[in-house]
Structures are given as C-alpha cells and as structure tokens.
Amino acid sequence: MSTGGGGENVPERRVHDLPLPTYGRGMFGANDTGDTSGYGRLRRPVPFPGPAQRPYGEGLDEIADAFEGGYDDYHTAIEQVVVHRGEITFHVRRESLLDAVRVLRDDEILRFEMCLGVSGVHYPQDVGRELHAVYHFLSITNNNRLRLEVSCPDSDPHIPSIVEVYPTNNWHERETFDFFGIVFDGHPALTRIQMPDDWVGHPQRKDYPLGGIPVEYKGATIPPPDERRAYH
C-alpha cells in the first residue's frame, strides 16, 4: 500500500505495539517423535495485519473521515486502524468505548443503527492485552460495516458495557463473559448464559482444555482432539 503523494494529509498516528505476532512452531508438527530434520525447532513469526495507511480503500476512507470528524476524542480513543481484506477495524481504548459507540450510533453521517454483538478472542501471548472483544456494526442507511476491537489485560478483565447504547448486546455480552471471563461493567445483569450458573472457568479461553478421553480402536489408542498432533 503506497503512502506517497498524499503524505502531508496523513495524520501522524501513534502506532502501539501490535497485538501479536503469534509464532508458528516447527514444520511437520513432529515435536514429540524422532524428528531428525531439524525443522521441528523452527520458530517463525506470523504477523497479524498491521496498522493501515491512507487511503484505506473504497468506501472505508469515508467511514474513517466521518468517524474522525464526528468524534472529538478520536485521536486519543483510537489506538490504530487495521484494514484487511476490505474490512476496517478500529482498535479502541476501553475507557473510550462507550463514547465511541455513541458517536457511531448518533452521528448523522455515520448512522450505525445496528450492533451485531460482541465476540471474544483470547490471545495469551499478547501480554497485557490478552482478552479482546470484537464488535461488529452495521449502518443500514449507508449500507456499510465497521468493526471495533477493544482489549483488556487478563489481570483486570473489565470492559465497559455498551448495552445502554445498543440493547441488543445484552445477551452477547453475557455470552462473552461466560466464555472468556470479560466483565462488562455497567451491564444490567451480567450472568452466565450458556454454561450453568455454578460452572467454574471460562470455556473458550485458550488456557481452558477442550477435554475428551482417549479412544481405543482395534488395539490402537487415539488421543482426544486437543492432544493430537497439531500443525502450524
């Protein structure tokens, strides 16, 4: 993506540490058997899409301009903008989330009338920002979409609830709390929704095992799925 030409129009953006990269391990997934190739010790970084430079692409610059124009604290609230495969993601500081979504809903150009819920993602390697909450928004008026991503550390898993702005997120936030342990402050009744009330742990975190038992078939034993050989 070229930044030349319109360089003076590109606002200086503070680029924070990217959430990742993750690391690919080995080559054949053979860490436990006699791997004589040496490839098993490979460790290669797999970067996630980085911050985007203007222009963001068809239709996306208009969204970013309107967001920037309609939101006074845009530059402090938005950590970075990622454009990948034609989808735009704004990484928002958690303190600013409620203000940001209010702008998305109420701004007369943006008009993101509908929120399609929140889903959690757990990045244990992203120390200090392990838990991410990802929100999808839809503007029916403008027929476009955007995504907000908020992160919080595992040691302080709090993100403000946006139920007062988008009531539909009531159940979605309960689900994300249930599965990831993210506490949505200000939610009217943050309880588990899928797991039983007395369940211990948050099952969709990466440090929560899938579970399962080895299965024996004709003398051979097949380990449960989370203990099988994995390729990365």
Binding site: L20, P21, T22, G24, G29, V46, P47, F48, P49, H84, R85, G86, E87, T89, E113, M114, C115, L116, G117, S119, V121, H122, V134, H136, L138, I140, N143, R145, R147, Y166, P167, T168, N169, N170, W171, H172, E175, F179, R192, I193, Q194, M195, P196, P203, Q204, L210, P225, D226, R228, A230, Y231, H232
Partner: protein, 441 residues
C-alpha cells in the same frame, strides 16, 4: 392423580403441577393478596420451539414480566472448531442451527474464503449450486416455522402439511449432498462435489409441486379467521424496537424495513438473480407469517433461475482451481454405493507425484489461512447470520464465532410478550422462529 406438591419457603409458596390439577393453583393464587403467579415454562415443553425456558410473572392471564433462559443445547461447536482443520470446521458449524445447516456452512466458508483471498476465484457453478441449495433450505426453514407455529396455536393440520413439504426438500438435499441434515457440502473454495445427473429433474418437479401446494396454504391460512384472530396485532415490535434489539430477517421486514443482505450486500452472485424483497408494515405475528409465505415464492423463482443457469453436471469446476486449497479426494458411485473415485486414485498413485503430495498434505495437515479476521454476513431464513473467523496463520481456526440470528432475535420476546396475554407468549416465540441449536451452539 393429583400431583400438586405444595411447599412454602422464603420465596413464597411453590407448586409442582403436572397437568389436570390447576384448581389448587388457581385457589392458592386467589388466596394470595397480590394475586401474582410466577410460572416456569420449559425447558422441556412442546411449545417452546426447542429447549427454551420461559419464566413468566402473571397477573391473572396478563404477563407482567417475561424472561428467557437459554443454554440447554450448548455443545461447544465454536470451541471444537479450534481443534480441527479449516475444512473439518464445516462439519461442526453445520450442526449449529439444524434447520439451516447449509447457511451455517456458507457463512463460515465465505469468511474463510475472504481470509484466503479467494472470494473471486470460487467457480460460478459452485456459487449457483450454493444459491440453489440455500434457497431450497430457506423454504424448508420457513415451512418448519409456519408448521410449528401453527401447531403451537392448535392448528395441527398446518404442522403435518408443513413437515410433509419439508420432506420433499430433504429428499432433494439428500439426493444432492447425501444427507438430510448436517450436510458438510459447502467447503472453503466451493462445494464438495457436483450435482448428480437427476438432480435438476428432481428439483424442477419439486418446484412444480411446491407452487401448487403454496396455493393451498394461502387458501387454508391467509384469510382464515381463527388464524388471523390469533396472530393479527399480536407480538408487535416496531422498527425502532427491531433496530435497538438487533432484530433482522423476516421480523425486521415485517416492520417495514426492506433490508435483505441478498440485495444490499450480495454474496455468492445473488446480484444476478431477479427476486423481490417482501415487506409488510403490521410488525405483528401475522405479517411475519405472510413475509415467510411470500419469501417461499421468491425462493422458488430463484431456484428456477439457478436451474436455468446450471447446465449439465460434470463439465465445469465446482471447487476453486488451487491444488493447495481444493479438497483433493473425489467421490464416485461404485457398485456398493459411494466410494473413492478410481480415476482419482489412479491419478495420485500412478500419474502425478504433486497430486499425491497435495492429497497427503491437505488431508493430514489441511491448508494454512493467512492471519487476520473476517466477518461475512449472509441473509439466512431467520436474519443476519455471520461467522466471525480469526486465523493465526495456522491450519486450524484460531476462533470461530457464529452470530446466530435466533440468538439476537430471541431477546425481543420479552418486549413483545410483556403486557399481553399468556397465550400470546407462544405466538410471540413462534413468530421469532428461534432454533435453539443455533442460539446455544
């Protein structure tokens, strides 16, 4: 047999009623000065559309408060996909909403394809087959919505008719995919195999039968006084309510908003088909029924357009032309039913070393998907269904989240039921058309 079990604790008196012994409860409610009764309905109840628990606070026959409890069908589909390859993920997501498995597959596959950057490389024939199957299934899903909705208000004939038509659709899907449900037919990059030779004839025959039967439905229901009496003006939710509660699909269109992702944000080539977006302005249960009814007609139109575009099977590809992604195995009809294609085995074992390597690597490891995240929404029979898919560059999904329309739409039930009659709660739930397999995943 009286099975009234009365107990008094800090929450007040509670009764366990198993039917036929309501007098005791009614008398006890009379004795209570406030006259309030909290009734638990479900999770195992024939009118809750699955395993849904409804808790109702009643004042006489008026619902003062309504709360829903879900989670009884949670099976960890999203977590399980993280331990399988991208291709195997299809077999998990298809089991979420079991009345529209092909939509779950399509939403997931479209997101994976976007991450792979092969959205525009999916062959046209694969897209036509996807649209054909999805529209067949839309009719099936709407049929069940109308059938179970009818049963729940006492119209048993509607239920038997609805399931009879759905059986015809399941026959078509079985012929094409090999399975009645949980097809795992749509795969990243295309579909798993081409249509069988007799599929076009079978589907055309179905369209003919269905057009005739839809006329019968119109005669039976559309102007039926009892049916209208139960549904008209019941369970209303206006447009601002739909927007705030994230309600999509027939419920949103019944509130007057012509929003259909097939038109607004086309996928799988929907921009090439002619069909109308049906709307109504009553925002009530009756209009939601009408919208589903009219949408079935539109789906029949789309199916016919698909059939006209298909041409004979076996000539054009149905999987992306990339040996590093396309599932290598081919199936053929052998003497004992289905089996591996002997041509394919000859190719990998005798002709091409590369083909053998690709087959081996794809089947054992699977393909890698570039790191990133994607969300591709599609218009399912129940509303916006999207798969939020995150990849860390590996051979397995890092995270898959299904934004299921039933999950979001079900939140609207208290808004529709509170202040109404207790009998209308059933109508409100039925008009949402929730499938708890999708809600709980």
């Amino acid at each position: 047999m009286t099975d009234v079990y009365s107990e008094t604790d800090s929450a007040g008196r509670s009764f366990t009623v198993t039917g036929g012994d309501w007098d005791t409860v009614a008398d006890a409610a009379q004795e209570d000065e406030e006259g309030h009764l909290v009734v638990n309905m479900g999770p195992q109840h024939p009118s809750t559309h699955g395993v849904l628990r409804v808790i109702l606070a009643l004042d006489g026959e008026t619902v003062t408060e309504c709360r829903l409890a879900v989670g009884y069908l949670h099976t960890g589909i999203e977590k399980n996909t993280e331990y399988r390859t991208w291709t195997q993920g299809v077999t998990f997501v298809t089991r979420a909403d079991y009345l529209m498995p092909l939509y779950n597959e399509a939403a997931y596959c479209l997101s994976v394809e976007r991450l792979l950057g092969i959205e525009n490389d999916v062959p046209e024939r694969a897209n036509v087959i996807r649209v054909l199957l999805m529209e067949l299934q839309r009719i099936g899903s709407h049929m069940v919505a109308i059938a179970t909705g009818g049963m729940e208000i006492g119209a048993i004939a509607v239920m038997t008719f609805g399931f009879r038509e759905r059986e015809l659709i399941l026959d078509c899907l079985e012929l094409i995919t090999g399975l009645r449900l949980n097809h795992a037919y749509i795969r990243p990059g295309g579909v798993v195999q081409d249509l069988p030779v007799d599929a076009e004839e079978k589907v055309r025959e179905f369209v003919k039968v269905m057009r005739r039967n839809l006329g019968d439905y119109a005669k039976l229901l559309n102007e039926n006084d009892i049916f209208k009496g139960r549904l008209k003006g019941v369970a209303t939710l206006d447009l601002p309510g739909c927007m705030a509660l994230g309600v999509t699909g027939p419920m949103l269109r019944a509130a007057g908003m012509p929003w259909d992702l097939r038109k607004a944000q086309p996928y799988c080539g929907y921009e090439d088909y002619e069909f109308d977006v049906v709307t109504a302005d009553g925002a009530d249960a009756y209009d939601r029924y009408l919208i589903r009814f009219e949408e079935m007609k539109e789906s029949l139109d789309i199916i016919e357009q698909c059939l006209d575009r298909l041409g004979p099977p076996g000539e054009k590809p149905v999987m992306v032309d990339d040996p590093k992604i396309a599932w290598p195995a081919r199936l053929a009809v052998g003497s004992d039913g289905q089996g591996n294609s002997l041509d394919h085995i000859r190719h990998i074992m005798g002709e091409s070393m590369e083909a053998l390597i690709h087959h081996f690597k794809l089947v054992t490891e699977g393909f890698r998907v570039p790191a990133g995240q994607a969300y591709v929404p599609i218009e399912s029979p129940k509303g916006e269904l999207g798969a939020h898919v995150v990849s860390d560059g590996g051979t397995r999904p890092y995270r898959v989240h299904l934004r299921d329309p039933s999950f979001a739409n079900l939140q609207a039930v208290p808004a529709m039921a509170e202040g109404g009659m207790v009998a209308d709660v059933i109508v409100a739930i039925a008009s949402v058309d929730p499938v708890l397999g999708g809600v709980d995943r």
